[in-house]
């Protein structure tokens, strides 16, 4: 609905190329994002103002992408899981666990107790193990993804808290802050990381048959098996990949707040990640997926959050605003709704 005026206006002088562009599945999430930004442009003075501070860019837009980075990572991982008809609700717990492992290994002094690289490798290693665990439960034991990952969702955070004894571990070792708080080429380094991860998966999609296989398994696992796909290892792969993304996101979050908060880090991140994936146009029923869509979905969510903060919406109204926007974005993506709308207009 929010996208409707934009499209209607554009349609009038549509050339064939433009027409196919208008039918592009990414158009709708993009339009939703554009509308949100438009609201910000009108309602929040200086929203688009980007200045240079300490040699890097500084402004609301930079904050949004920086904040959205962990969500984008989680959403990228989640996209592949969802494409195989699965779901991973342990993302938040993995975020907490990986951040905690890194922070514990680095320790609370100005110097790292474990070299940074090793600490990060251990954190990602822990995340990979989590993914392997999920993947094995789903593919080898055939547990339903939601319960299989529920186990880790509950226990993973407990494990992280066990490591820290429920305390927040504050890190003072400066190089650790670069991942989530540093700048590269004037932009947040986190963005570079996301771009790298994205490039890696996009390349894999293009240069290997991974995308085809994941879709095939997601749409019709029986047929995929009969065609000779290694369905089990594919499943394990997507869960491992999702957990690795979550682990990286966890490092980013704890690096950004310079501490590991096992109790709260990544709380409910899984829901936001799933929301981002769906807003990006990927169906939870599995099959076709869009990585770019998920990234845009994450941006929509973060822009919305940031808009709520900046507009001065009272906190008790946050949820209502968020839900209304989600409803509107969904409806704007529904062809059926648009039909109804245009029918009402012609009648």
């Amino acid at each position: 609905m929010m996208a409707a005026p934009v499209q209607a206006a554009a349609k009038e002088n549509a050339t064939p190329a433009l027409a196919s562009l208008l039918r592009h599945p990414l158009l709708r999430p993009l339009a939703a994002l554009a509308v949100l930004l438009l609201i910000d442009l009108v309602a929040i003075p200086g929203f688009f103002h980007v200045s240079i501070k300490d040699g890097h860019l500084y402004g609301s837009l930079i904050d949004i992408v920086n904040r959205a980075a962990p969500l984008m990572l989680a959403a990228l991982g989640m996209t592949l899981v969802i494409a195989t008809r699965g779901i991973d609700i342990s993302v938040g717990a993995v975020v907490a666990l990986s951040g905690t492992v890194a922070a514990m290994l680095i320790g609370g002094g100005p110097q790292a107790e474990t070299p940074l690289v090793w600490a990060m490798a251990a954190a990602i290693g822990a995340a990979l193990l989590c993914g392997l665990w999920n993947g094995v439960l789903v593919s080898a034991l055939g547990l339903q993804p939601i319960v299989a990952t529920l186990i880790l969702m509950v226990a993973g955070r407990g494990l992280a808290q066990l490591l820290t004894d429920g305390q927040i571990v504050t890190v003072y070792y400066e190089p650790f802050f670069f991942l989530g708080g540093g700048y590269f080429a004037g932009l947040p380094f986190s963005l570079t990381v996301v771009a790298l991860v994205f490039a890696v998966i996009a390349l894999m999609m293009r240069k290997t048959a991974l995308g085809l296989f994941i879709q095939a398994v997601g749409i019709n696992p029986v047929a995929a098996r009969l065609a000779g796909l290694k369905t089990a290892s594919l499943m394990i792969f997507v869960y491992v990949f999702c957990a690795a993304c979550a682990g990286l996101a966890g490092l980013m979050i704890s690096s950004n707040i310079k501490s590991a908060d096992a109790n709260n880090a990544g709380l409910l991140l899984e829901l936001d990640a799933i929301l981002a994936v769906t807003l990006g146009g990927t169906s939870l029923a599995g099959g076709k997926f869009s990585l770019v869509g998920s990234v845009i979905g994450a941006l929509i969510i973060q822009t919305l959050t940031y808009t709520i903060y900046s507009l001065g919406v009272p906190p008790e109204v946050n949820m209502v605003v968020k839900s209304v926007v989600v409803f509107l974005v969904c409806l704007s993506q529904s062809a059926e709704f648009k039909q109804l709308f245009s029918r009402a207009r012609t009648a």
Partner: protein, 508 residues
């Protein structure tokens, strides 16, 4: 509409129906008239628009233009439910039943027998068993539908449609996975219904069946109505010509001569000894030779599909050995089999074959890519070239090689799946009902093509419920009965009549 006084008033009339899908004009200005007490057969090549016409008629698709008149009143069914309410009962081409429900429920859901306002489970089961008995299907109606093979599911779908007391009955390729005997049973029931005054619309690709049962024939070609004919007035040759739209097409090309058959039997490619699985197939001995087409035949449920699945590793064998090349134990998974150079085209294309949302190209490349491994992606241009070739060779009617396979007609989907295995150039190919739903002309062409491959050295295990086809193509025949092999015959040892006796177990 006023008809000649001696003809009965039509029950259902379609006028000027058009339907456009993105990129495809599926129907343009099609008309159709059904009379009570007549069986009307719809013929046409794959993708001619038969199923689409039926879906428009029964409210699945809304037509772009045209009217539907039932007993003098214009109707606009908006859903299958509407159509049913109006007295139109349909069996669609792909079996549309709920795999998770019991057989009995699948027949009765939507119109349960009730007792004290509750679903009367007992009564329902008894009735369901009785209905199926009509078609001589004796199964546990409490069992889940998904535990039965396609043919049984097809029978259940037919029973469901028969049980709706309707004015019009529509059957879209109901016989595509049935054996001769079942077809005869079905026809007996259809004739009875016709005599009771029902209007029946029937779609099939089998000329024999068309001539056995129809009163009238409508031929469709490329989304248009070619013409309507009284069955008795249209020769087979004329019918085929009208379908394909070529005046010179001959019905039966020369009988296939298979040079391999006459010579020394070539080397054994695959050897199964005592291969079996409890409850599915008794231990089976089988030799399959390179360059030989081995037919498996038997009645419905005789275990042909099970045998194929065991050979391919789709189900795990619990006894016996399988020798192929160096290896001597049965395959643990289809992947194993594929690595050993075997392909398997399943009979159940909807559940075990097609990946509906993926494109024709992707569906075709899947097995080849799986064998190449994930990391070695086949370059796109190569994929496209291959896909285009096969689309051309197999005459697949599709807007584009990037069209989702789900929007192809049933027969064309089948061709794509066949292509999926052909592109892998396997040493041995297991074909379970490969020509299901494929039109007469294409069927012949495909079997010729496959025979050609066989001549070049591919081993083929061929399963079909069409006995003439099996007899014509196979070099050697293995007959299964009650999930047990019960005889092996060389080409020419059996003919159309003796084979029936063998598979039915009446001493040959």
């Amino acid at each position: 509409m006023i008809k000649a006084p001696n003809a009965a008033a039509p029950v259902l009339e379609l006028h000027g129906i058009s339907k456009q899908f993105p990129g495809v004009k599926a129907l343009s200005d099609v008309g159709l008239t059904l009379y009570a007490g007549q069986i009307h057969t719809l013929m046409g090549q794959n993708g001619a628009g038969k199923s689409t016409l039926i879906k428009v008629l029964t409210g699945v698709y809304a037509p772009d233009s045209g009217t539907i008149v039932m007993e003098g009143r214009e109707i606009r069914p908006g859903s299958t439910q509407d159509a049913q309410r109006l007295g139109i009962s349909t069996v669609y081409q792909e079996v549309n039943l709920c795999p998770n429900l019991s057989v009995a429920e699948n027949i009765f859901i939507g119109r349960y027998p009730r007792k004290f306002g509750m679903v009367d489970w007992g009564g329902m089961r008894a009735q369901a068993a009785r209905l199926l008995e009509q078609l001589e299907v004796r199964i546990d109606v409490r069992a889940q539908l998904s535990s039965f093979p396609l043919a049984i599911r097809q029978m259940v779908a037919i029973s469901r449609a028969l049980n709706i007391s309707a004015r019009v009955l529509i059957l879209d390729e109901p016989t595509s996975s049935l054996d001769e005997a079942e077809v005869q049973l079905l026809f007996r029931v259809l004739r009875k219904l016709r005599d009771q005054g029902m209007a029946i619309l029937f779609v099939t690709h089998f000329l024999d069946q068309t001539y056995a049962i129809s009163d009238r024939i409508t031929v469709m070609r490329n989304g248009e109505r070619e013409g309507e004919y009284a069955c008795a007035e249209l020769s087979r040759l004329a019918l085929v010509n009208k379908m394909v739209g070529a005046p010179d097409a001959s019905e039966h090309p020369a009988e296939l001569v298979h040079p391999g058959a006459a010579q020394e039997p070539p080397a054994v490619l695959m050897q199964a000894r005592g291969l079996g699985r409890k409850g599915a197939l008794a231990p089976l001995d089988l030799d399959i030779r390179a360059g030989e087409m081995l037919g498996l035949c038997g009645l419905l449920g005789s275990g042909r599909t099970e045998a194929a699945r065991l050979l391919f590793g789709a189900d795990k064998a619990d006894s016996g050995t399988l020798r192929i090349g160096e290896r001597s134990h049965p395959f643990a998974s289809p992947r194993d089999a594929i690595e050993a150079g075997i392909g398997f085209c399943s009979e159940d294309r909807k559940h075990e074959g097609a990946i509906l949302e993926l494109s024709v190209r992707e569906n075709m490349m899947l097995a080849l890519q799986a064998r190449a491994g994930m990391l070695r992606a086949i370059p796109l241009h190569q994929q496209e070239a291959l896909a285009r070739d096969y689309v051309k060779w197999l005459g697949i009617k599709t807007a584009d090689i990037d069209t989702p396979i789900g929007s192809l007609s049933g027969g064309n989907q089948q061709k794509v799946l066949l292509a999926r295995w052909l592109v892998t150039k396997p040493a041995m190919l297991i074909l379970d009902e490969p020509t299901r739903g494929i039109d007469v002309r294409a069927k012949q062409e495909i079997m010729d093509y496959v025979s050609g491959l066989c001549r070049k050295g591919m081993a083929i295990l061929f399963i079909s419920s069409e006995l003439p086809e099996v007899l014509r193509c196979s070099d050697r025949l293995v007959v299964l009965r009650d999930r047990k092999a019960c005889g092996e015959y060389q080409r020419g040892e059996l003919d159309d009549t003796s084979v029936l006796q063998v598979i039915a177990g009446e001493a040959a």
